[in-house]
């Protein structure tokens, strides 16, 4: 061992030494490192090196010193050879074996295959010695996955070890269970794990809970009957077990909020006790009482209180307390504060808490720590959904973050800007985004930011000119990363223009588009998607305003086809564009002179390997040969937005057929009546929904029906729904149920379980729309108030003044200008609503306003009316088309009912389900009568089994309903709001350009 080995040891750097106290130990130690002598290193290798031999030590060191990857690989490969040889020798002492296995793990961590040793690791877990067994378990959890062939050899041992008297053996087995048990083997260990929930050692209980949680993640149905155990463990004597139980509960609540509303009181009282330092001192951490438990609880409360006024009201006091008590000087204190802000912004808004949250945010943003700034920006992004005016207080801090060299912070800030974009600042924000997009190489993030730019531009574009320019920039810099839909959308916009009223503006828009594209074509390397747009626009509108001659445009198109000769799609677009230009020329009665380069291009395409290109080329030839009248009806000028009426029955041929039959031709036999070619025709027909029942079927088989379900008489269904508890849910699998204590009940409960499943799924949905209705109150303000605007402006200027006076020297005029452009404008936040007058239009428009390819298809094969959706899918046509047809009163009903309004407004298709829901909901809301136990011990508050279900359930429902207010006007307003808010930014908005369209 020489001095070289120190190279890889800790060396304290001066900056490192300056860091926080908490890590001082680490560095004190690191400093000592320098004093180390070779002799000490030697003793270390032999004594403390955890029984590892010098061989291993040498291996680690030589790998550490390897100068190149190749050298490292060489060392590792020779090590593998050694291990292969050694490990298969007979009678290896256990301790040697243990070392070999550790060496194997190490080798595999370095990225080399160690599979030859897996079986030895498996053998080790059978050993009696705890040390060897644990090493074996460690190795198999690192080596194997749950579907590995060797698992079958392990399951038996795990079963045995779970029953061991030594709790460490049990813990090791539980650890392996988490990693190695898959859906099929869960039943083999489940009974033992359930038993372990009552193990005397808290470490075991904790791990058993986590194992069940893991099972829940892998296969929710396998443990759905055990969910009550999580509730019970919440009252465990050991706070550590209670804290661990919060993990599975968090998942469960995320998936189904409504079944756990009854726990709100319990969670609040636990949080209160934690915050009041009633837990053992051992759980204190940096003078904070059990901060990690507080964080989990706040996360859970945020879920439970989301759009639930009643539940939220229970939380206000405790969250407010935590805001006050939190020590904002420590990292962990800030973590809890941040979680409080998240909670406040998720639950039903409370002005006082919002104020505290805003205070905390400003502390974060003013901090010097990048981490805190990051959290502050993130928190701000959450809070502005509820109170948009808060962003204005922090404008300069936000701009500082935007200009920070730290990429993470920058991205977070862009996320915030994205959330606070409105029509007044869209230009600045999108420009900034595009600049940033150009400066990075990370394709993943580039894609994301490009799509955000597009989205914002579509939503808030101040003018079409600006929109087209912005899109050009996005395409130019990130063209290949942009979704093709965006390109189609852009073409659609250029084609549809300002709509019906203003034709001159339309043609101006198109001319400017053509102009800019001809200019851009000069650039060397353009992305394919962008070229497609360019070709299409040049084809449709290149000669429309008469500024450019046909030969000029066709020349450009030929250049494109030549320059990008390996891109077939672009070539196809170019050919079709050429065809359109020539067709317009012919239709206008001008003589067509094909350019020589165009001729040679056509010759090339006529012999192309691509059938698509060939066909297009032949079509072009054919079109050129036709007379003006025919050409005009095939490719009418500026008609990409016109409806193409397709006569499916081909009735215009009737005369012709009649004539032919009279002359003795065979009449047509419909395909379904023909024999012998059924399979083929059916296959082809599937698109036309005419597939007859015979022939091949391509859809998947249905899942086998549960036999139990068949036995349920319809009458008893209603009665099972009345059974209130989510508690005993019994498994549908028929594994050895004998050892599961809870499965001792009757068949009726099995039936019950099946019903519950469906209900849960339906209700599970709601969690995807948090905060939509929580934002009601504030959005009301912004929607109808000039007064509101004034108020926020004055507040804004005041805060800016104070900020200025403090930081006057540092703030450059550019920054202030930027601030003014980002935040300054009147706080108009309306996003254009989705339920506009144009909502019925898109579906008809989309069919023909897309790329030239399909318009040609329509022309050539008239039967295919239904276009593949991906070409035209600008949004969610299903939503749009179903929305108007629905009875508005149904929606209203949904709104009056507690907690269902979001789903009814957003997801119209589920209205039927919604109308039925309130009674079911009320019944499943099991109440532990916690209100009476509010201040008593958690244990009594929680362990109270849901005996009072029926009563509790109905009362909660009543309260919830009354709190929503019976006032019809209120609910109408809410309906309007929810409709507005319900449009998530990601869904395409049919009214994108409402403003522009006037």
């Amino acid at each position: 061992m020489d001095a070289k080995s120190y190279a890889i040891c800790f060396k304290p750097s001066s900056s490192a030494l300056k860091r926080s106290n908490t890590t001082r130990n680490w560095y004190r130690v690191a400093k000592l490192e320098q004093l180390k002598t070779i002799g000490r290193e030697l003793t270390k290798g032999s004594q403390g090196g955890f029984y590892q031999s010098k061989e291993f030590l040498d291996l680690v060191k030589s790998i550490g010193e390897a100068r190149s990857k190749a050298e490292e690989d060489r060392i590792v490969l020779s090590e593998i050879e050694t291990l292969k040889r050694r490990i298969s020798e007979p009678d290896i002492p256990k301790r040697k074996m243990k070392e070999y296995i550790i060496r194997l793990v190490y080798v595999e961590m370095l990225g080399h295959d160690a599979s030859f040793g897996y079986i030895h690791a498996v053998k080790m877990i059978h050993d009696d010695s705890l040390l060897v067994k644990r090493t074996g378990y460690l190795a198999v959890t690192l080596f194997l996955n749950e579907d590995h062939d060797l698992i079958i050899l392990i399951v038996n041992t795990i079963q045995k070890d779970l029953k061991s008297d030594n709790y460490l053996v049990v813990c090791a087995a539980l650890n392996a269970v988490c990693k190695l048990i898959n859906e099929e083997t869960i039943p083999a260990v489940l009974p033992q794990i359930v038993e372990l929930l009552a193990h005397p050692k808290e470490a075991v209980r904790k791990k058993a809970i986590m194992a069940l949680h893991r099972f829940y993640q892998k296969s929710p149905s396998s443990v759905s009957h055990l969910v009550s155990n999580f509730r019970k463990r919440l009252c465990d004597n050991d706070p550590g077990v209670m804290g661990a139980t919060l993990c599975p509960l968090f998942d469960l609540i995320t998936n189904d909020v409504n079944s756990y509303k009854d726990l709100v009181i319990s969670f609040v009282s636990i949080l209160k006790q934690v915050a009041e330092r009633r837990l053992p001192k051992a759980y204190d951490y940096h003078q904070m009482p059990a901060p990690f438990i507080q964080i989990k609880l706040l996360k859970i409360l945020a879920l439970l209180g989301s759009s639930d006024k009643q539940a939220s009201e229970n939380m206000y006091t405790v969250v407010g307390d935590i805001f006050r008590k939190c020590d904002s000087s420590s990292n962990i204190g800030n973590a809890v504060l941040y979680e409080c802000i998240c909670c406040v912004s998720s639950i039903y808004p409370n002005p006082k808490l919002l104020e505290s949250a805003a205070d905390a945010i400003s502390r974060f943003l003013k901090s010097d720590s990048h981490n805190l700034k990051y959290m502050g920006i993130d928190a701000l992004g959450r809070l502005i959904k509820i109170s948009p005016e808060i962003a204005e207080q922090h404008q300069l801090a936000v701009i500082d973050c935007l200009e920070d060299p730290d990429d993470t912070l920058k991205r977070k800030t862009f996320e915030l800007l994205y959330k606070m974009t409105k029509s007044t600042n869209v230009e600045v924000i999108v420009d900034r985004m595009i600049d940033y997009m150009n400066s990075i190489n990370d394709n993943h993030y580039k894609t994301e930011i490009a799509s955000r730019c597009v989205e914002l531009a579509e939503q808030f574009a101040p003018s079409n000119q600006w929109f087209i320019q912005t899109m050009n920039k996005v395409f130019e810099h990130a063209g290949d990363l942009v979704n093709i839909k965006v390109a189609h959308n852009l073409m659609r916009l250029i084609a549809e223009g300002f709509g019906e009223d203003d034709d001159t503006a339309d043609s101006q828009l198109r001319s400017s588009a053509v102009e800019s594209y001809l200019h851009i074509l000069g650039e060397p390397k353009l992305p394919s998607v962008f070229l497609q747009v360019i070709c299409w626009v040049l084809g449709e509108y290149g000669t429309a305003d008469g500024k450019y001659s046909a030969s000029y445009i066709t020349g450009k198109l030929c250049d494109v086809a030549e320059a990008y000769s390996n891109d077939e799609t672009v070539k196809a677009y170019a050919v079709t564009a050429l065809m359109k230009i020539y067709a317009f020329e012919i239709a206008a009665g001008r003589k067509v002179d094909m350019l020589p380069e165009c001729h040679s291009l056509m010759e090339e395409f006529l012999a192309s390997h691509s059938t698509d290109l060939q066909q297009r080329a032949y079509e072009l030839q054919a079109v050129i040969g036709l007379d003006a009248h025919a050409v005009e009806s095939i490719l009418p000028s500026d008609a990409s937005c016109e409806d193409i009426e397709v006569d499916k029955a081909l009735s215009f041929l009737n005369d012709y057929i009649q004539e032919a039959i009279e002359k003795g031709a065979q009449p047509y036999i419909p395909e379904s009546e023909r024999t012998g070619m059924l399979n083929i025709s059916n296959f082809r027909n599937q698109d036309h929904h005419e597939a007859s029942s015979h022939g091949l079927r391509f859809e998947a088989y249905e899942l086998p029906k549960q036999t139990v379900q068949a036995r349920i008489p319809p009458a008893s269904l209603a009665s099972t729904e009345l059974v209130p508890v989510p508690e005993p849910m019994y498994p549908r699998e028929s594994y050895q149920t004998t050892t599961v204590p809870s499965v001792s009940s009757d068949a009726a409960s099995t039936e019950l379980k099946l019903r519950l499943d469906g209900v849960q799924k339906r209700w599970g949905r709601q969690t995807h729309f948090p905060s939509t209705s929580t934002s009601n109150s504030t959005s009301l303000k912004t929607v109808n108030g000039i007064t509101q605007v004034d108020g926020s402006n004055t507040a804004n200027s005041r805060t800016r003044e104070t900020y200025d006076s403090r930081k006057q020297v540092e703030i450059s005029p550019e920054k202030q200008k930027l601030a003014a452009s980002l935040f300054g404008g009147p706080s108009k936040t309306e996003k254009k609503s989705a339920t506009g007058h144009k909502s019925s239009k898109p579906s008809s428009h989309m069919v023909k306003s897309h790329a030239p390819k399909s318009s040609m298809e329509v022309a050539s094969e008239k039967t295919s009316v239904q276009q593949p959706p991906d070409l035209l899918d600008f949004g969610e046509p299903t939503v749009k088309s179903t929305a108007p047809s629905l009875d508005p009163f149904k929606d209203l009903e949904g709104l009056l009912e507690p907690t269902t309004q979001v789903s009814s407004a957003v997801n119209h298709s589920s209205t039927a389900a919604v109308t039925k829901s309130p009674d079911i909901m009320g019944l499943y809301t099991e109440t532990t009568a916690g209100a009476h136990h509010k201040d008593s011990d958690i244990l009594s508050g929680l362990s109270n089994p849901p005996m009072t279900n029926m009563v509790g359930g109905t009362t909660t429902m009543q309260v919830a309903q009354s709190s929503k207010g019976p006032n019809l006007k209120d609910s109408l307003e809410k309906d309007a709001l929810v409709r507005q808010m319900g449009v998530t930014p990601s869904s395409q908005n049919p009214n994108l350009f409402k403003d522009i369209l006037g």
Partner: protein, 171 residues
């Protein structure tokens, strides 16, 4: 949940890698390389958080801490709190590592992490179980680890522990 825990040195050599969802060896290496390439491009005095979606897919964040020649990295999803995880790395983990290993060696270096591979894993298993943080008190973790070591030693028929290690046990 926590998706992965990694320790690597400033040259990108991985010193410890634990993934809580199974990944093939190749995939693991790819991720480690991906993480390293991001880490080594970070300047000093910037935040400890990185958006890891480009490496680990949707909804993944990464928190790292640079200690001397080592990077400690946790990858997790939105159900964890960044600052809290950072505290785990910069507070709990080092103090446990240092305390545990310190008692043996009076210092910690990169090699120790490799030499004490199974021990470090034991510590991590006490802290993070099945992808969830279950224990955050360093004294509790220490207690558990010590107990394991004690029982391991006792249950082991062949005494693998030389006399010097008993000094560590008794503390």
């Amino acid at each position: 949940m926590i998706k992965a825990v990694m320790v690597m040195n400033t040259q990108g050599k991985s010193r410890l890698a634990k993934f809580y969802e199974y990944l093939s060896v190749e995939k693991q290496q790819e991720l480690i390389r991906g993480v390293f390439s991001v880490l080594c491009s970070r300047a000093e005095n910037v935040s400890n958080f990185i958006d890891a979606e480009s490496i680990f897919g949707q909804d993944s964040r990464l928190v790292y801490k640079h200690f001397a020649t080592l990077y400690f990295v946790f990858v997790f999803d939105s159900s964890e709190n960044e600052l809290a995880v950072l505290d785990l790395i910069q507070d709990v983990l080092p103090s446990v590592f240092v305390e545990t290993l310190d008692k043996c060696f009076q210092n910690v270096c990169e090699l120790d992490i490799v030499f004490n591979y199974s021990k470090i894993h034991t510590i991590l298993d006490e802290m993070v179980f099945g992808g969830q943080v279950v224990e955050t008190s360093s004294s509790e973790i220490m207690k558990a680890v010590e107990e394991i070591s004690k029982l391991e030693a006792a249950s082991n028929a062949i005494s693998l522990i030389p006399k010097s290690a008993s000094g560590w046990r008794s503390r």
